[in-house]
């Protein structure tokens, strides 16, 4: 893996790029404060997932995902019940600990009942100049959804314009869309390298890069990703694709990232996922031509399925079976973030679908805020061993 590769390809640039990205994932706030110092601009926070960052970027603000910081969950206890999911508790705790006090605004997408309630509490405990819900439609099967979403995006755009004191020009929005498309494309390419050669880019590093991608100025990010990709691509050629345990991870959010080490340790590799802080973040590009708002609408309506709502034409369980087959996965790990209701309601049907398809699957419960890693490791290892162990990889 990368740490011991100094004398390998030896390209300092790529190593530096990776170091910078890792550092950004571990110390995300620095990205924002530094940008503020350099540009004097405003930072708009958002929660996962599906927030149209392109709009925020086109307004000249830095979109910043409240996702990578680790908070002390107890800080949220006086405001949010302990039986709220640890993702939302963590986000609120981080705000209450003043770890993200550089934010000028916050947009919360309403993906579940928890996110539907969170903004009100947040407004009360840590008010910010711009605070908006993103009321994304919870059905995408009928024409009404698109017309509504167009209006909702217009509303958010207007709000950003008011805050900025200036209109967002169509050209600027198109540029932001192009930038983000490129950004996603590069991330997908890196994902591909991780799949083919996790010795070159470990699963954990990949997911760290995704974390970094959510907070970094995206221009700088693209530069780093390009450098990294150029070198890793070459390096990858030195490895013949080893046979590995190919796994799909499905769930709301991947946490803790150590899980990926446990997978790699046993000769496993993540070939696909549908996580909000994973592939869902890179998956969907926006059409470059035509009305940019309409393009954003279409992207949202056509995204991969998640637990927020069922899509008639793309049912999640069937989608996951298809995905696992296409990617020739030997097994599926369902990561269940404790207290995440939407995810939990899907679990039984997802599991049934896997069973019917003859794809081994396991459910692992996780949470933000530190869970016993030993147990997690044991479970992941046991699952991979069940699939055939280190030696009998396909």
């Amino acid at each position: 893996m990368l740490q011991n590769r100094e004398e390998g390809a030896g390209n300092l640039n790529s190593l530096e790029a990776l170091e910078i990205l890792r550092e950004a994932a571990e110390n995300p706030a620095r990205q924002a404060t530094q940008w503020q110092e350099e540009h004097g601009g405003k930072v708009i926070g958002f929660l996962l997932s599906d927030v149209p960052e392109e709009l925020i970027h086109a307004a000249g603000f830095l979109p910043y995902a409240v996702n990578a910081e680790e908070g002390k969950l107890e800080f949220a206890d006086a405001h949010l019940q302990t039986w709220a999911c640890s993702f939302s508790r963590n986000a609120l705790a981080v705000a209450l600990q003043d770890k993200i006090s550089f934010l000028d605004g916050l947009i919360i997408p309403q993906t579940c009942d928890t996110t539907r309630m969170l903004l009100g509490i947040w407004k009360h405990v840590r008010p910010l100049p711009l605070m908006e819900n993103y009321r994304l439609p919870r059905q995408v099967d009928r024409p009404s959804a698109g017309a509504y979403l167009y209006g909702e995006l217009e509303r958010i755009k207007k709000r950003l314009e008011e805050f900025r004191g200036k209109k967002i020009e169509e050209g600027a929005l198109k540029n932001s869309i192009a930038l983000y498309n490129h950004n996603r494309q590069l991330l997908r390419q890196l994902y591909g390298i991780q799949v083919e050669a996790p010795q070159v880019l470990s699963s954990k590093d990949l997911f760290k890069i995704i974390k970094a991608a959510m907070v970094m100025p995206r221009e700088k990010l693209n530069q780093l990703l390009r450098q990294l990709f150029a070198v890793l691509k070459e390096e990858k050629e030195c490895f013949t694709r080893a046979s590995r345990h190919q796994l799909v991870i499905s769930g709301t959010l991947l946490e803790p990232l150590e899980l990926l080490d446990f997978i790699n340790e046993k000769g496993g590799v993540v070939v696909a996922d549908d996580l909000k802080n994973g592939f869902r973040y890179l998956e969907a590009d926006v059409a470059a031509n035509g009305d940019p708002l309409e393009a954003l609408v279409q992207r949202q309506l056509k995204r991969m399925p998640a637990a927020f709502y069922e899509i008639r034409e793309k049912r999640r369980a069937e989608y996951l079976v298809k995905l696992a087959r296409e990617k020739e996965a030997g097994g599926v790990i369902f990561l269940h973030l404790k207290f995440c209701e939407p995810e939990n309601y899907d679990y039984y049907d997802n599991m049934q679908a896997m069973e019917k398809a003859g794809i081994p699957a396991i459910r692992i419960e996780t949470a933000y805020g530190g869970i016993p890693l030993g147990q997690l490791q044991t479970r992941v290892h046991a699952f991979i061993e069940m699939l055939g162990g280190e030696d009998a990889v396909r």
Binding site: H79, G120, K123, R138, S144, A147, E341, P342, N344, Y345
Partner: protein, 396 residues
């Protein structure tokens, strides 16, 4: 003192469940609907609406929720999901049906104005029973109802009507819709007049009475039966007022309660309040069914009434609404139930309590439990919260 209408209620609810069974025999499609959804459309389309939430509430009141839940949990549904859904899902996977088997859906109509649990539960049920599922999506409404939301909702009602026309093969009857909405208006009007009597000092009627008499406004809304029921209840109430029959003895205080009762412990809870001469007079819960439809603009009016439901409003609006109800009923304190089953109502209550106390000067209390599941019930915890609250109330 027992209500004379209690007999009628029993009859009405027995009829309701019998109708469900009969619908199946007669080939009338059964549509699952959510408590706060435009059932008026379902009646107008000639379908039988079934309320699985009511099944959950009845199971809970009979202390069966834990039992159903354990079956659901064995399938991987966690005990932190809404207990109503655990009852429904548990029944679906059970061999035994202590409450009689839930009426199976031919189609499902969910409006998510209340919560996202219902929409997920209905998705699950749609897959389980192989029935088509239709979601009426209600975006959260801010301080004012916005045109974007109403337009979206109206467009969806039109889509629903097209979907039902397709399903039944019959043209949708708008005259019938107006008739049904007229019945709903009348029942809602009577229901709210009944609720209002809780403001009298002393009052003949309180929240726990409302919980008992609530089933018809949920399950029979839109029919003449509901109107008839509430007319009779109102008459009985007027008699009681004349005869000075009151909800509790020596009423000294009035309280506001949020929001669903602890179904399996309702008696226990109401006795505690009564022993302190406190009448729980009002709750946003029982006031949910206060629709007033404009029959000249049926779809717009349905959209306005259903999206403006309190659960679908933002934090600040919900605080205002609670305070308005507290003022209207002139309460002396308030109790907020942090209900594990109901995240959209529980989250935010800690701060709401502080804000409301600050704004109104009223004492308040928040306690934790589950509306259905006794495994999350701790008498010691609740008493530890309630005792200081009553002391505060009595010393004020």
């Amino acid at each position: 003192m027992p209500w004379q209408t209690a007999e009628l209620m029993k009859q009405l609810m027995a009829d309701y469940y019998a109708q469900g069974a009969e619908a199946k025999e007669k080939g009338i499609p059964v549509a699952w609907v959510t408590a706060v959804s435009p059932v008026e459309i379902i009646y107008a389309a000639g379908l039988f609406p079934f309320y699985p939430e009511n099944f959950g509430a009845v199971a809970s009141a009979r202390k069966l929720a834990d039992k159903f839940s354990i079956v659901a949990e064995a399938k991987g549904y966690a005990h932190d999901l809404c207990a109503y859904s655990r009852c429904g899902i548990g029944d679906a996977h059970s061999q035994e049906h202590p409450l009689g088997e839930i009426v199976k859906p031919d189609l499902l109509l969910c409006c998510n104005t209340q919560c996202g649990s219902l929409s997920k539960w209905f998705e699950v049920a749609g897959r389980f029973y192989h029935a088509p599922y239709f979601l009426l999506d209600a975006p959260q409404v801010g301080m004012e109802l916005d045109e974007l939301t109403t337009r979206y909702y109206v467009a969806q009602l039109q889509e629903l009507i097209a979907f039902l026309e397709d399903y039944t093969g019959k043209k949708f009857d708008y005259d019938r819709l107006r008739e049904v909405m007229g019945y709903a208006n009348e029942a809602c009007r009577l229901w709210n007049e009944i609720l209002d009597t809780a403001a009298m000092k002393p009052a003949p009627f309180g929240f726990f009475d409302a919980c008992f008499h609530m089933a018809p406004i949920v399950t029979w809304r839109g029919t003449p039966q509901a109107v008839d029921y509430y007319r009779k209840l109102k008459q009985e109430l007027e008699e009681r007022i004349k005869n000075k029959v009151y909800a509790i003895e020596n009423e000294r205080y009035k309280l506001y309660f949020d929001h669903i009762p602890l179904w399996p412990k309702m008696r226990w809870f109401s006795d505690i309040c009564a022993s302190h001469h406190a009448l729980v007079a009002v709750s946003q819960y029982t006031h949910s069914w206060a629709y007033s439809f404009d029959l000249d603009r049926p779809l717009e009016s349905l959209a306005e009434n259903y999206t403006e439901e309190f659960v679908n409003r933002v934090f600040e609006h919900r605080i205002q609404r609670k305070i308005k109800l507290m003022q209207k009923y002139d309460v002396d304190g308030f109790m907020l139930f942090s209900n594990r089953s109901c995240k959209p109502n529980a989250f935010g209550l800690y701060d709401k309590k502080n804000i409301i106390s600050k704004l109104t000067g009223l004492p308040g209390v928040v306690f934790e439990a589950d509306m259905s599941d006794l495994r999350f019930f701790s008498e010691a915890h609740i008493m530890a919260k309630l005792e200081p609250f009553f002391e505060q109330l009595e010393s004020a």
